[in-house]
Symmetry: C2
Subunit: 194 residues, 2 copies
Amino acid sequence: MHLFKPFNTICDLKTGVLSPPGNHIVRYLADMKEMFHDREAAETMLKENPKVYEFYNVVIPEEDGHLQHCTSIIYPGKVGKEYFMTKGHFHAVAGTAEIYVCLAGKGLLLMQTEDGQAEVLEMYPGSISYIPPYWAHRTINTGDEPLVFFGVYRGDAGHNYGTIEKQGFSKLVLEEDGQPCIIDNPRYNPRGGD
Amino acid sequence: MHLFKPFNTICDLKTGVLSPPGNHIVRYLADMKEMFHDREAAETMLKENPKVYEFYNVVIPEEDGHLQHCTSIIYPGKVGKEYFMTKGHFHAVAGTAEIYVCLAGKGLLLMQTEDGQAEVLEMYPGSISYIPPYWAHRTINTGDEPLVFFGVYRGDAGHNYGTIEKQGFSKLVLEEDGQPCIIDNPRYNPRGGD
């Protein structure tokens, strides 16, 4: 039996920056422009290609007795009326949960099952959101400052981005009259990729 | 397949109090007096029977696709020279990890394997401690205010308190000249209960 040694990672609880950073991934608009509803607005913004979000993933074995953990930082901003958000994904091992602890900012957590059920939870400092097995998850920054949260999931859970890339989420979160508004996504295609 | 619904729990990030509280467990000195080294001091303090720690456990199915999560609050105090601490345990499914995110206060995280290896990590706001599979874990408040942390572990991990109750930890954390000092535990019995 290989015995893995305990260790600390230090998190700035205001900014979410991890030290050491582990796997640090930055997503710019160019990395996910097809995911926003207003493609004309996305195309125009590509000249500046803003940073939409980033995350820091502690390096942990991809085994089911371990726990992956990371911080995510979603920047404030919009593409047209649609708030900056993550790509969103199912887990590759779909029957595994995830937990988000919000540290700063405010936003929404949009979730969806393979058969099209949708759920939304609010995120704000101190909200602990439980994403049960089989729910895809996307986070959306509806505020004016970075949305920062800590996430934990099973070591072997992995990521399945493809299903969401093909099908989209069934809901969009747009700003209407200065407030977040959840509407049906006219481009949602539950049979996408079949 | 039973689909479990997403939900939020609200955490006071300063005090660790959860709302709703879930399973709320309080440990008084009388619940763990044999765990402190100075039994005479423990006996004397039993008249007041102080609260040593408490935790709030969100109610989650005990299945391996789920994630248990909780907050723990260790109060400041000492029994003789030994700081207030948790009982400490292995997981019943020993090969499962745990993560602690410290929110407030300061302390030490003492860990030990079945074959007697010991490790210690510091806890302070923003420290994220990774307790890998097969390590028993105990937290110790070495400060003057409550030590508060958020914990996550696999849904089916469970608790094995018995091994530590019989064997003890190989190390004690005592205050010497106002500083925490880690010493060998003369009562450690690695064959305890055999």
